[in-house]
């Protein structure tokens, strides 16, 4: 098996400026450029990516996965170590990078393709295909500034996937466009893979990595903490606690009138001990601790579960069960029990709301404030039979 990308003992650090003051005055006064401290984004990372495979890089924010991808792409130069790449490479860190708003779609296709390393002749040959893929035949001669953001991204992706490199680097760009276009993208990626190309994906969408990739590496604080078959790495990642509680206040926004508040939400499995991760298909309990400063009649608690990329999956509120909480004055505890959690393994975000009886007045709205992970059920790792966040379950049988 040949190696497409070999990363050997690579270290990269950033300069963190004490004062972001890049002026000549500051330089003259201090005698040198602004002072800075070095911050290691990658330390001694080594890995090999086999040719013809789909490879995933996962990790928390700030783990160094994007830095590593940029080093491979040649955008950043590591201080130490070597990166060897066999074959042509295109890095898609942003769709439509270099698009000029005043130029037409047609001109931008040529511009973007050239940035990605295609010659004019190659672009000409594939031009019709690119335009057809983007579905923008009617608008191709209009300036790009008149495009909607969806059209912009579609044209960008269309150019990108038609550059036909030996190695394709993708950073968080799989979750773009509408569903129909996403499906087209996924098909195109499997096409590209099918023709023997190497694809490296950096993503937060853990389930995507688990589904698409053969192998993966988990980065933590700039070091490789786990490597191997993608599903194993993803399971390892999800089984670890990921600063869930620490993140609590940083995740979403919080607003509301404030007479009544959701103080905390704890997640429990079948026992009463709080957990960070829950098995797919197992029972789950959400426990809400609420409080109020004055008496609030018939408060309604609600939750919404979203995928890690922000797509709403489902929600339910207290009205489903009826008026069990007549009023809130002081503190109260309420539980929601879901018998078998219908989510596939992955990371999810919880939104909790506290509103009045008629859902008109919002006392407290905590948007995507808690992250929890769903891990594979006890039957094992292979979930390749499932797609999307919702676990449909069901039984198949043969009909004579």
């Amino acid at each position: 098996m040949s190696i497409a990308i070999s990363v050997d003992d690579v270290s990269k650090s950033y300069r963190k400026y004490d004062e972001r003051n890049q002026s000549l005055k500051a330089a003259v006064l201090r005698g040198r450029r602004a002072r800075y401290t070095e911050f290691a984004a990658l330390s001694e990372v080594s890995l090999e990516i086999p040719a013809g495979s789909i490879f995933g890089l996962i990790g928390d924010n700030g783990s160094g996965k994007s830095t590593l991808l940029k080093c491979i792409a040649g955008i950043l130069t590591p201080e130490k170590g070597r990166i060897t790449v066999a074959g042509s490479m295109a890095a898609l860190l942003e769709l439509g990078a270099g698009f000029h708003p005043e130029l037409s779609g047609r001109e931008n296709v040529f511009l973007n393709a050239a940035i990605l390393g295609m010659t004019r002749q190659e672009t000409k040959l594939r031009f019709d295909e690119i335009v057809h893929f983007s579905g923008l035949e009617e608008f191709i001669d209009a300036p790009v500034r008149t495009y909607s953001s969806g059209m912009y991204v579609r044209l960008g992706f269309a150019v990108a996937v038609h550059t036909d490199p030996d190695i394709l680097l993708l950073d968080e760009i799989l979750a773009v466009g509408d569903e129909d276009f996403q499906r087209k993208c996924m098909e195109k990626i499997s096409d590209v893979h099918g023709s023997g190309k190497t694809i490296v994906i950096v993503s937060h969408a853990i389930s995507t990595v688990a589904r698409l990739c053969e192998n993966a590496v988990l980065l933590e604080h700039g070091c490789v903490s786990n490597r191997g078959p993608a599903q194993d790495v993803v399971d390892f990642y999800l089984s670890e606690a990921h600063e869930v509680v620490a993140d609590e206040d940083n995740l979403g926004t919080r607003w509301g009138s404030g007479e009544a508040r959701i103080e905390a939400v704890t997640i429990c499995g079948d026992s009463t001990t709080p957990v960070n991760s829950i098995r797919s298909g197992a029972p789950i309990t959400f426990r809400f601790a609420c409080s109020s400063s004055t008496r609030v009649d018939h408060p309604v608690i609600g939750i919404t579960i979203s995928s890690i990329d922000g797509v709403q999956i489902g929600g339910v509120n207290l009205n489903a069960t009826g008026p069990i909480l007549k009023y809130l004055n002081g503190t109260a505890s309420v539980e929601l029990v879901i018998g078998d959690l219908p989510l596939v393994p992955g990371a999810y975000l919880l939104t909790a709301t506290l509103v009045d009886q008629h859902l008109a007045r919002t006392y407290d709205f905590r948007d995507k404030f808690l992250r929890f992970d769903v891990i594979p059920d006890s039957t094992g790792g292979d979930r390749s039979f499932e797609t999307g966040p919702l676990s449909l379950g069901g039984n198949w049988r043969l009909v004579d």
């Binding site: 950033y14 300069r15 890049q22 002026s23 000549l24 005055k25 330089a27 450029r33 940029k70 792409a73 040649g74 955008i75 950043l76 130069t77 890095a91 860190l93 942003e94 990078a97 270099g98 000029h100 005043e102 130029l103 001109e107 040529f110 511009l111 050239a114 940035i115 990605l116 390393g117 010659t119 004019r120």
Partner: protein
Amino acid sequence: MSVARKLIEKRELISIFTLRELRTKYKRSVLGWTWSLINPLATALLYTLVFSLILKVEAPVGNPSDLKNYTVYLLCALLPFQFFNSTLTTSVDVLVSNGNLIKKAAFPRSIFVLSVVMAMTLTLVIELGVLAIILLVMGNFVLPWLPLVLVLVFIESIFVLGIALMASVWNVYFRDLKYLITIALQFMFYLTPVLYPITLVPKHSEIFGTDLPVRALYRLNPLVGMVESYRAVLYDLRFPSVGTMLYTIGWSVALLVVGFWVFGRNERRLAEEV
């Protein structure tokens, strides 16, 4: 030399960026490209008004062309100087304004500077073409001299490229450079014989009690020889002095080498610093 090979490999990207530079410059303006001709002509008109009519600066008689016209005399130096001016002011900012692209795509960063210089060079050639027509109308048979004008344009482009490479990459680290350059260019403009003939610069002058060879010092500025060469060819219809040519070529080559060296040294951290 690996820089040269890389740039040749990316020649299509360079030409596409150059076209982008040219195409987007006058997008959405009614007159479009005509502006690039109106601008220098309007400036020339203004300077003629002030310096020829009010301050009574005399244009010398062309030798051997016998032409005597201040506006034309001015344009022969003004166009090359404005090329230097606008190329430098545009390229000093080009890395910062393309920061997003630098963070998202990998290709030699000098392409940004190179394409600005090329786009501006093309504009200069068109402007000089218009000037050549004006000269022909005024009776200066400039046609046989045009190849030499192109050689001068080439030398000046290399000269500007060297400075632009350094300025653009330093500006990423010291954002003040942009403003400093604007001031420096103003000094440069009046310290180059554009508005007046060099004969008005005294040969010697007493400054702080010492006798200084002012004109010789003045001539150290490589732009002096540059605009004088343009004038010799276009206005006087004669060969520029060999010494002057060698001096400017020397500067151009030196600046080009130093420019690429400085750029290469600072290129590595660009994606983090812009």
